[in-house]
Amino acid sequence: MSSEDPDFQKFRGSLTDEDQQVLDQIFREQINVQKEIIQGNIRSDKEHLILVNFCIDPFKYRSFLHNETGYLFVRVEPFYRLGLKDFDIAIYNAQSKALILVECKSSIYDGQKEVDDVIKTIAVANDNHKLLEEIVGDEIRLKEFSICSKAGYIPKLRPAIISKNAPICLWSADIFTEILSLEKLGEDTSAEISSGRLHGHDQLRQLLLKGVKSAYGPTRLAAFLPSSHPCTILEEVCSILHLNLEKSGKEKFRFSDVQNLLEKEKSLWNFSQEELWGFANKLLSEGLRIGVFQDLTPNVAEVSEKEFEFGISHGSTRSVINGVNRRYMDFHAIKKAEEKAVDEFKARIAKKFKPLDEFTQKEST
């Protein structure tokens, strides 16, 4: 695996043969390091997805809490179109006109920081009340906010919410016993409801305080989120795109094929056409950048008029998925490794010449 980046090659070309070997060695080591980092990021993202699906589960259509309380999972990432820090899930009760926005945290190192981040996102939600009303197509009388985290992290979040007096309900997810519950952060229920740390809806509050166990275990409703790792999204979308093309006996596809496919994705239900367009465009651009897709009409400017095909082996869905993964890893690991290798090389040189600098300084004094 080698670098083709002109800047990197230019820098490399300016070095002596001996230094080039040093740079190449650092570059090779960095590729493995960067791949490991990407894999770690993908894994963290999937852990987050487990938690998101866990939270969605009791609020799905005709699931326990939907039946009992009327609260229904509406969509993921309601502020996607704003490109701002977002909540993961929007749950709406059409009778009481109450909306719950949930942020899922699969790992927590600093409870204070996480709570501060959610407080900022609450401000976004308050600033964009009209947008939320547009999403649910209704007047919203009450907005409530929740952080959901694995049961083990609750002790880190509890004091942070209390100390900040944050209007946040704390949900605890025990993914192994499959119980989702609401934590009571203060003794005075009415005061806690008023301060937004317990849900106002009596039945929802009582059921969640008791703990809700899924009837048969949480399902994976969303295979990805719009903010999921791009490699995961590309794998998920390319597999379906491949099956669609195979079924219709086609090799080439258009932007509309990607858009139509995304419209049917459960992860993107209740997304507007503009949001879907933006998502499809972003996905296609990344696919083209890393070589998963090829642009067959480079002279056509209008994206809707363009034709594309897979730039990877696509004999089977398995080969498509492997191809996406390999291209993503290679492209991003190389790119990052180039930057790191140059930095590391410069740092080593600087260190090498430090004693000389010190000597010069000593002489001048």
């Binding site: 259509y61 709406y92 597999s239």
Partner: protein, 364 residues
Amino acid sequence: MKIPFANYSIESFYKVLTSRPEEYRMMKILCLNAYFKSWAPPDKFLTLDGIFRKHGFSLRQMGEIMELETTYVDPETEETVPVTYYAYLSPEDQILRCFTMASTREIEKTIEPLSVESGLYHLWISPSAFEQIKNVILSERPHTKITFFSATRKPSMGFRGKIRPDVERTIMYYGDDGKETLEELKYYYGVVPRTIEFHIPGIVDMQIAARGIFTYLRGELDFLLNFSERAIEIALEVRRILERSRLDTVSVRTARKELKVPYMVPWIVDFSQPLDSSGCEILMEELSKNQFTLYNHIMVEGSLRFDATVVDETKKSIFEISATKDRMIVSPRYETQFDSFLRFLETVVENFDPNATCKGAYEV
């Protein structure tokens, strides 16, 4: 096997068979699960008729019976052998019953490859259904002998025998004490029966294979025809569960909008033994060998949690799985029909956990 050309109902076809049973010794009834209720509904793009023609069969309508003809080249003699099936598609249970004198090899080379087609899959008799069928015969006809059986074991199966459990084995047994021997070999060698031959004194000799094939050997053909219906009914319980699984779009009205939300009914595999991370690796490997591709997967250890997207490379469908140590929830996503789920369940049961059972998720 040649049935005179006529306009048959299933009853009159059976009459032809049962009037001269000696001519049909070794006749097999091969059963296929079909998505279809008729051969060529005019409004459908994908038809049963079309699938058979695509695979080189010529079809001739004989009332409710369809004559299916194809050829097979014997690899030893290089001779082209004609192979004929007389098929009846029941609109009630959507089982295609194919009557033939073809050999097992001819069946494997001609009609079984159709199981890859969307909407068609062999009638898989799960180990628990097979046990139930066997027990029905043995309890209702206590003098029945099992005179032959074949049984297999794969090292990937969680259910372990007592003797050298890591050895892959196939046992073929002939003997009048097959009933007892099968139980002993199951216990000691962990094998799962694939074919059983029953000798019901004074009534019938017949074979039942887990791939949904009933073979008439001698005696009352009527008995086999009737009993096969009962066996099909037992085997179909699994399909009925899988068919209830679905993914619908539901419209929910708010003041100014019609929201679109998913309504998903998954199905569940209950494992007979707790699944751990090494078991999960074995399961993934077995699924992969059987043309299922797992991706976007994550395994969280502790008490196990495993999520993945699954592509059925054969049936061209995609679904989601979510497993804990006790069970796996399977949720439809893209073009999933019962046949893909059936193929998945068969792979899990036949290669990993022969005592696993399936059930529907609660519909509320």
